[in-house]
Symmetry: D2
Subunit: 140 residues, 4 copies
């Protein structure tokens, strides 16, 4: 049975001391680490990973990231990263993120990844290992 | 005499080992550190700083950041961050960034900051210390 | 009933992509983040925190840290940080750390913290909030 | 003519905003980044680098690091890292660091690196590329 769409994962994290800045809040650039933790957790739960790509000689670097902050996070806060996979026909991987604390929206964001072969060239069509994954999850 | 518009600064940096990831390139989130270094350098050269704000009890957190990657940077690369102040009438600080290596465009980005008073409330009008700065630079 | 001595905590963590360097291993400086996560987890489990100190106007900065590496950690590895509180009569907080992966010793380390008052002066005797904690845990 | 011994380099740096923590000082783990910047600068000035090793299939991971703090550094502080190469007959690279601000000692530290071949095995004798470097600098 295919999974419910859109594919999304919620990951619970806690703000660490070294992630906070002199304004006593999480330094804005550290949200990209939270997005990465959410994306990796999504990968573990939905059966797709950096290692799958790597074993095929393919890298999936981030080529675009956006982050918008509504509320600050502070040291010790427990929060959730909701990572949603946005499907498209293109040779790209798009995720949208929402960070919640006590069910209040703290931050939204998105990342776009492309596929590079082992010469560093961008693939114009979706590589087989990723098509396989899309089929397994019912996206194709 | 007013400065040439738009106000911009070029800052030369070098990629450090710990900024690179297993793909042998700068980890995408570290570009926000480069933007910060560019923005702080702009502040020093154009006479505006975090300390000016702080002494008035005002914080200027980043509420939005965007980063788009065209080419990778690798360990040891020397590159330039061009930080351009985008003026607006609103109570916001907008910067656009371009990163160049050997005059090739590596990355573009932008950040938006707002003004918060010491209760953490967002200011709806531009605070006096920042109007002063705009006047000094000829923006007003 | 007092707790078993020495006081120690085991914290399970996973290596994140952005913590790894071009050698495909965790960058050595990131182990201090793991020690911090272990120390904070110890604090939560044993009822002592940065906030307790902060509410008394006391800071507990790290004044010494040591890290020795036996084996590398790689992206995705799951490991445990064992944080052991080393009691002493001095106005210092000493922790020793051992990091294990599959019960093999990966790394050892230690940190020393001191107490500063709100003028940034080092306290020569243990502050009351910390004596209270020592009493509660049976160390005094 | 051989260089003056011990071989050392002074590198001027400035504290960046994102390196500071809620105590308004540089987070202790970031000093390992400063040591790395000092060590890399030493390498550039004395003609030895990560790339030299890498081209021989050799990695030089850090296996031990120590950091002791005397005074804090704050946002915007300009400081100097003095990196001193400590020669020994063993297959190890030892550096000692001193960080100064306004000629006051802020921090001391050291790092030890070993040589690994491309199978990840530790070399028990000094590899040729490093012996060459020692000869060039007059250490041998």
């Amino acid at each position: 049975m295919p999974e419910a769409f859109p594919l999304k994962t919620r990951t619970t994290l806690r703000v660490r001391f070294h992630e906070c800045d002199p304004l006593q809040i999480v330094w804005h650039g550290n949200y990209l680490k939270y997005f990465e933790e959410g994306r990796e957790d999504f990968g573990r739960k939905h059966g797709i990973s950096y290692h799958d790509a790597q074993s095929k000689g393919i890298a999936m670097p981030i080529v675009r990231s956006v982050c918008e902050h509504k509320l600050p996070l502070k040291y010790g806060d427990i929060f959730e990263v909701e990572s949603t996979y946005i499907d498209s026909g293109a040779a790209k991987i798009l995720f949208q993120y929402k960070i919640f604390k006590d069910e209040k929206l703290v931050c939204t964001g998105e990342t776009m990844q492309v596929f590079l072969n082992d010469k560093g060239e961008m693939l114009l069509s979706i590589p087989p290992f990723f098509l396989d994954w899309k089929q397994k999850t019912g996206l194709l």
